[in-house]
Amino acid sequence: MNVSKRALLPAFGLKARLEEKDFEQIFQQLYPRIVEVVSRFTESQDEAEEIASDAFWKLWNSPPRNQDNLPGWLYRVATHLGYNALRAKRRRAGYEVAAGRLIFAESGVVDPQRAAEQRDERRRVQAVLLQMPRRDVQILLLRHSGLSYSEIAGAMKINPTSVGTLLARAERKFDHMYREGEQDAS
């Protein structure tokens, strides 16, 4: 039903929704990868799934005008949401306790000692991520979730030739800040 979809919707600032089958296909393909990327920001996979689901929800509900690179769009939106969620969480009181409980409840890790270590590690990493500019965090996480340079370029709307430089810079910052934190801790 595309009278207005193709021809008139844009004239009203309305955007064409994806065909349902195309949407489902892209969901099937990308959901696990989006969850993986986003999980770096979260305490649990459930939380990562929620954020991933929000990104797909946006794709369905207010799709981008330009639909040439939907995977790129999804990665961009999902990392943005993930970063914002992490920020918001840091501001919320009582988070530490709640998050700790969540890990024991859901991780299946029997050893509480080990779970606590993992959680601390995650907090340290997330604290570092929060101190970095969002674009550095995006490039870092996208690359370390296995995206190619050209996929990253598409997701971040940057020139593929600058991915190497930006990524090296982001890794340098991360590594430096993380190691600095380790020294402070010890």
Partner: protein, 375 residues
Amino acid sequence: MHLSESQLKSYLDRQMSQEGEEKAYAHLKHCDRCGSRLEELRARAERTAATLTAAQPPQLALNTHRAFIRLQNRTKESNMKNFTRKPAFAGLLVMAAMLISLAFPPVRAFASDVLALFRVDQVQVVTYDPAYMQQFLSNTENSRGEFEAFFNENIAETRQGTYQLVDTKADAEALASFLPRLPQLDQATLGVEPGSEIVVTIDTTLVNTMMTELGYENYTLSDDFNGKKVNVHVPVSVVYTSGNCSARSDASDPDDQSHLDCVTLIQMRAPQADAPEGLDVARLGEALFQVMGMTQAEAKELSQSIDWSTTLVLPVPVGGDVQYQDVIVDGVQGSYIIEGESSLQTLIWSKNGMLYAINSTQPGLDILALANNLQ
């Protein structure tokens, strides 16, 4: 010549072209300095990877199918709840109105195959208050399901080709068979969108259930129409854009401000439709206007004042920061809609058998002047 950090990094990540990789390899074989920089990058990347992996929350088996079902449910719920605020629903309304106006023309004595022909040559905006519709529709849960079912099951569209970018007006003319009239803006691109054929199959049970549910038993359709087809022909359109909209603009992307600089002009020959004889479109229009908040008397008066055989009726939500006014544009009457907060302006008019729509997100742009100076 040493390798740059960018080159070393892409070499390390195996993201170079084969040729680039061979060159880098040849250089690295005899350059200790680049070799040690490479090692430094490698060590850092490995540390980073290890740290990030260790910090990932425990991975559980992912049930993508279940996640999809959940999302679907959420989509359904939200369609119900946020009916009037969602652009998609506004789109649905536009479509509904277009279908009613395009697809159900008054009777004309045509051949035995009971076809009536219709062609848009004017546009009329009918405003409505979204808050009212929200309230109205919240009382009619079931009909919304019917409404969706109608769009899902009874409408088939065939797009006749794909969108093509063209270089010149003459190229556009060759594809669209009319010479487009264009503004003169920077960074403009020109494209041709293929035409579409839309076939709507009338399901009287569905329509009548919907009408009854909405409280319009008097507006139901005779069973004679069941299974009859309505054909809508949407002609080829020429799409002119300026600014960043067609390239990499994305209003739903929080990073992206470039959509604030997007102007689109769409023009096409007037859409046409043919439909079974005997459908009383004025009556259906009357029902629609009541859904949009008019009293029965108002709805009847307006519906009867509209020449449904030639008028494209566009429902526009007004209220909040959306305003609408009639304007003289391009020498004819047109409709101007402005949405304050997003500085979204739309102008739509019909002239000499052509339908035009300009849409701009560029704050302060005088689209009326733009429309008056098409060449």
